[in-house]
Every structure is written in structure tokens, then in C-alpha cells.
């Protein structure tokens, strides 16, 4: 198993959607005490869909790579679709299974996005 596929490392080194959205529809800050990963997700919602997604944060390649890919992935998705996403979505998106030791890193930004939507309601 190769955890560090080229694509994840590329996203870590040059993350997409890095930054904040001023006055976002929803945002959430989450922290993973295992790695010290620290991610804030910003979502802009229009017509029940994710119009824009950005993130700020520091962390390991798995968490930052996943946040970068997830913010790409979220755009255009309905709120219901985001709510239904789980670890499986992330594993498919990454193309690798990070295993139990690193799954929290991989799913940190998804959990933050889902909590952001929960808080909004």
C-alpha cells in the first residue's frame, strides 16, 4: 500500500482552495489532537448547493492533501450529498485507504464541513 500517492503529495505541496471566504454561509474549525492538524473550512452556499469551498490550516500531508481535494470535490454538491458522505467517500477520493491510524487525518476536513452545515441549521 502506498499511502503517499503522487497526487496527495502534490495537493499537500500546492493545495487548492487555500484561504478564507469572507462572510461564508457556513464555517467550522476542527482540530485533530493526534497529529495536531488544524483545519478551518469555509463554505459558500447558493440554491442548496456548495457554490464555493475553501480551507485554512496546518497539518500532515494526509489532512492537508485531503482538505485540498475535498474542497474541489464539494463544489456543486447538494447539502444532502455532503451530509451523506462518509469515510468511504474520502477513501475513494484519495484513491488510497489511509488505515485506522490515519483515517482521522483524512476525514478531518469532511467532518469540519459537515459540522459547519450542522451549525448553520
Amino acid at each position: 500500500m502506498d499511502l503517499y500517492a503522487e497526487e496527495i503529495v502534490a495537493h499537500y505541496e500546492h493545495p487548492h482552495n487555500k484561504g478564507r471566504i469572507d462572510s461564508p454561509s457556513a464555517s467550522f474549525h476542527d482540530y485533530n489532537p493526534i497529529c495536531g492538524d488544524d483545519v478551518t473550512i469555509y463554505l459558500d452556499i447558493k440554491g442548496g448547493k456548495i457554490a464555493d469551498a475553501k480551507f485554512e490550516g496546518v497539518g500532515c500531508a494526509i489532512s492537508i492533501g485531503a482538505a485540498s481535494m475535498l474542497t474541489d470535490f464539494l463544489k456543486g454538491k447538494s447539502l444532502h450529498e455532503v451530509k451523506e458522505m462518509g469515510p468511504k467517500t474520502i477513501i475513494e477520493m484519495l484513491g488510497i485507504d489511509p488505515g485506522p491510524a490515519r483515517l482521522k487525518c483524512a476525514t478531518l476536513s469532511l467532518r469540519a464541513a459537515q459540522k459547519a452545515l450542522e451549525d448553520k441549521r
Binding site: 503517499y4 497529529c35 495536531g36 488544524d38 500531508a61
Partner: protein, 427 residues
């Protein structure tokens, strides 16, 4: 093929005693570099646990039948072994707990509970891990006591002597300090701190979780009042730890936990405490853990603690030398030329790569290292200002080739994260 530092100690012979070291994962042999978290166990320790349950499992003390007497004697004999191992006065000074953490908590809940008052100072150091911080924070909150910290020097390697003087002038009631840092590998001169602390009337607790397993430790030479360490870091099983305390102090202190075995007699109104050390062990203890810890001590004594220390010094020096040749790799703690003040713990980081990614890539190569704050968040996060660190740590069964495997894994990390090797020409 026996190499360099492996020659002085029969490492290959030792390794044959540890079944787990024969593990192969995905075709790669296990390289275990996380003994500071927990050590591996030799066959004799594993067999002692099994033998207890197969041959003489019975509750200890008060049993009149043969297997109970056998269990009681084995459990008590292990305390005598531990007492001799750290040169305590007698087994009356050896209290079994679950681990070093519980030992420190027991001091906080008994002696400190009975002796520390509002406004009193408790002195710790910035090197401490959570087990030697949080019990004191809980106590300080309950009592209204004040916690002070001895600072690190500007190299972030050793305790600052001026800070020791400054903090001791506040006349702390207790100085609780590590003998060997699980993050920086720093060996602290606890003997001299104990002497200065005693001159100011403070009690002294030494957290020996990282020292007793790895070097000769003599409680009477250090002259500490309390010492805490864990069985599982010294070839013993989990769930057994040791609190050493001076007999006089134990006699003057009331027990914190009540129940069976810690009493001599009980009436409806009151009880009479048992003799030492049982006074501080309530309820059925970890019998097999105590017995197996005694066997672990036998094993360590047969190899010799000075031999183990010398082996780890050679290995650590070799590893520091190899790490110094790596570009983009920083090492924390005392330098290689200060090896007498450094134990076999090396925290490091690779520029631009998160320590957890480092540990995951090592894992893919079959190498077990630790990444995180090493249960010392104030030191790692507030003092060293890192979210986490990668750490390799050695024990008697580690070989020079384990270090070589780690160095090669660092190369793999750099390849994955495309870190240029150009600067390596500086060597």
C-alpha cells in the same frame, strides 16, 4: 554479520529472546524503535505470566493452601528484586501501582494531599510529560497551590542551572522532576537537584520512567524521597508500575486507597492500616504483573544495566552521527559530544514534512517510530514550538542496522516529498 556497536553486547543473542523481533510484515522485518513508549518482552517474562495462570493462580496473602502461598511468595519476592535493583532499603519501600503515572498520582493523593496547603509551591520542569504535570495541576487546583517550572537552557537541551536556583528560592514543598526526558533524551542530574531541594526543605520525586529501564539507578545515592517508574518500559508487562518511597515517609503518610489487603483489622467505625508496603495497595493487586516484573528485573540484571547503558550510548552516538549527515533533518536535545547527558531517545524532524507523515512512511518500511507530542504537550508545543515531533528510541535489543534502516527510511521520506539532496555535499 556483527557490526560496530553491536559487538560489545551480544545483541543477536538478546534478540533471540524476544519473539516479536522475528516479525515480518509485507516481507519487511519489524524494526522496533519505540521502546520509550513501551519495551518488547523476552520469552521468560511471557512464560512467567503463563506459568502463573497454568500452575499456581490463587489470590495472595491469607491463603492457607499451597498455591496461594506460592503466589504470595512469588509476588513478594518480586518486590525484593525490584528493591535491590534500585538499591532501596527494603521491599517495604516498594509499592506496586499500574504504572509510573499512577505512582505519581498516588503521591499527589496521599503525601501531597496531606502536606501541601494553599499558597505552597510545587516545582516541576519544562521537560516533564503529562504524568508529572497533570496530577500536580489537579492537586494545585484542589489546594490552591502554585506550580512553577524549571526552564530549559537556550539550546533547548538541558535544564537551566540559574532557573533551578531561582525556582528553589521560592521554597517549594515538593520538587517533581524527570531523570530522563522522553522527548529530548536529556539526562537530568537529579542527585544534585535533590541535594539543593532538600537543603530548602522540599521533598523530591523523581520520574524514572525513562531511566530505570536503561541505566543503573540508585535511589539511596540520588537520595530522592519518591521515585516512579513503569514495568512495561523495562521488559515487564503493562499494568504494573512502581512507587519507591522512603520508609519514614510511608510510615508518616496515611493511605489514599482503602480496601482489602491494605488493612490489619477493620471494625465498623475504624481500621488499622497494614504494614508496609501493603498499606498502600488496596484490593487484589496485579499478581502476575508483579511476578513477571521480577522476572524482567532478573533479565536486566543478567545483562547488566551498565552494559545496557553503554550499548545505548554507542547506538545513540552512531545515530546522531548518521542524522547529522542528513540535509534538512534537525535533531532535538543534547549533542552527540554530550552523550553522558543523553539517553537513547532521539526526536527529530524533516523540514517540510509533518512528523506523522514521517512515521507513516517509516511504517511502510516496517519501522516503528512514534510521532506526536509524546505526552509532553507543554514541552513540544509551548517550548519547542512544534505541533509534533518524530521520535526513535533504543533498547538493549536494537542493532546498528536498525539505525541504518531508519536513515534509509528518511531517504524514502525525502524522495516522496521531493526534498533535494544537494545540500548533503556539506559532509
Amino acid at each position: 554479520m556483527v557490526k560496530g556497536s553491536d559487538m560489545e553486547l551480544d545483541v543477536n543473542g538478546i534478540r533471540r529472546d524476544f519473539p516479536i523481533l522475528g516479525t515480518v510484515q509485507d516481507g519487511k522485518p519489524l524494526v522496533y524503535l519505540d521502546s520509550a513508549a513501551t519495551s518488547q518482552k523476552p520469552k521468560k517474562v511471557i512464560a512467567a505470566i503463563s506459568r502463573y495462570y497454568r500452575k499456581y493462580n490463587a489470590n495472595i496473602h491469607r491463603g492457607v493452601y499451597k498455591i496461594s502461598i506460592e503466589a504470595s511468595e512469588a509476588y513478594e519476592k518480586s518486590k525484593t528484586k525490584v528493591a535491590k535493583f534500585i538499591n532501596a532499603g527494603s521491599m517495604e519501600e516498594i509499592i506496586y501501582t499500574r504504572n509510573a503515572t499512577e505512582s505519581i498520582n498516588l503521591v499527589a493523593l496521599s503525601w501531597a494531599e496531606q502536606n501541601i496547603r494553599s499558597g505552597d509551591h510545587i516545582l516541576l520542569s519544562e521537560l516533564e510529560h503529562h504524568s508529572n504535570i497533570v496530577p500536580w495541576q489537579i492537586l494545585a487546583k484542589r489546594k490552591g497551590a502554585v506550580i512553577d517550572y524549571i526552564r530549559l537552557d537556550s539550546d533547548m537541551a538541558e535544564l537551566d542551572a540559574a532557573s533551578v536556583d531561582r525556582e528553589l528560592k521560592k521554597n517549594p514543598k515538593i520538587v517533581a522532576i524527570t531523570q530522563a526526558s522522553n522527548v529530548l533524551g536529556t539526562i537530568v542530574d537529579v542527585k544534585s537537584i535533590a541535594k539543593e531541594a532538600h537543603a530548602r526543605g522540599a521533598a523530591v520525586l523523581v520520574d524514572a520512567a525513562q531511566s530505570v529501564p536503561h541505566m543503573p539507578v540508585d535511589v539511596r545515592d540520588i537520595d530522592c524521597d519518591f521515585m516512579a517508574f513503569s514495568g512495561h518500559k523495562m521488559l515487564g508487562p503493562t499494568g504494573i508500575g512502581v512507587l519507591y518511597a522512603k520508609k519514614r515517609i510511608l510510615e508518616e503518610t496515611s493511605p489514599a486507597l482503602g480496601g482489602g489487603d491494605m488493612i490489619k483489622t477493620v471494625g465498623f467505625e475504624t481500621f488499622v492500616s497494614n504494614d508496609l508496603p501493603w498499606k498502600f495497595e488496596a484490593g487484589t493487586p496485579n499478581i502476575e504483573g508483579g511476578i513477571a516484573l521480577g522476572v524482567a528485573v532478573d533479565y536486566l540484571k543478567r545483562i547488566g544495566m551498565q552494559n545496557i547503558r553503554d550499548h545505548e550510548k554507542r547506538l545513540t552516538k552512531y545515530a546522531l552521527g548518521q542524522l547529522a549527515k542528513q540535509s534538512g533533518v534537525s535533531v532535538f536535545g543534547p549533542d552527540a559530544d554530550d552523550i553522558d547527558h543523553r539517553c537513547g531517545v532521539i526526536s527529530f524532524e524533516i523540514d517540510g514534512v509533518h512528523p506523522h507523515d514521517v512515521a507513516s512512511i517509516f511504517d511502510q518500511e516496517g519501522i516503528a517510530i512514534r510521532a506526536g507530542h509524546h505526552c509532553a504537550m507543554p514541552l513540544v508545543v509551548n517550548v519547542l514550538k512544534r505541533p509534533a515531533l518524530s521520535r526513535m528510541s533504543f533498547y538493549l535489543y536494537n542493532k546498528q542496522s536498525d539505525v541504518d534502516a531508519a536513515i534509509s527510511a528518511i531517504g524514502q521520506v525525502k524522495r516522496i516529498f521531493k526534498i533535494k539532496e544537494a545540500a548533503q555535499a556539506k559532509v
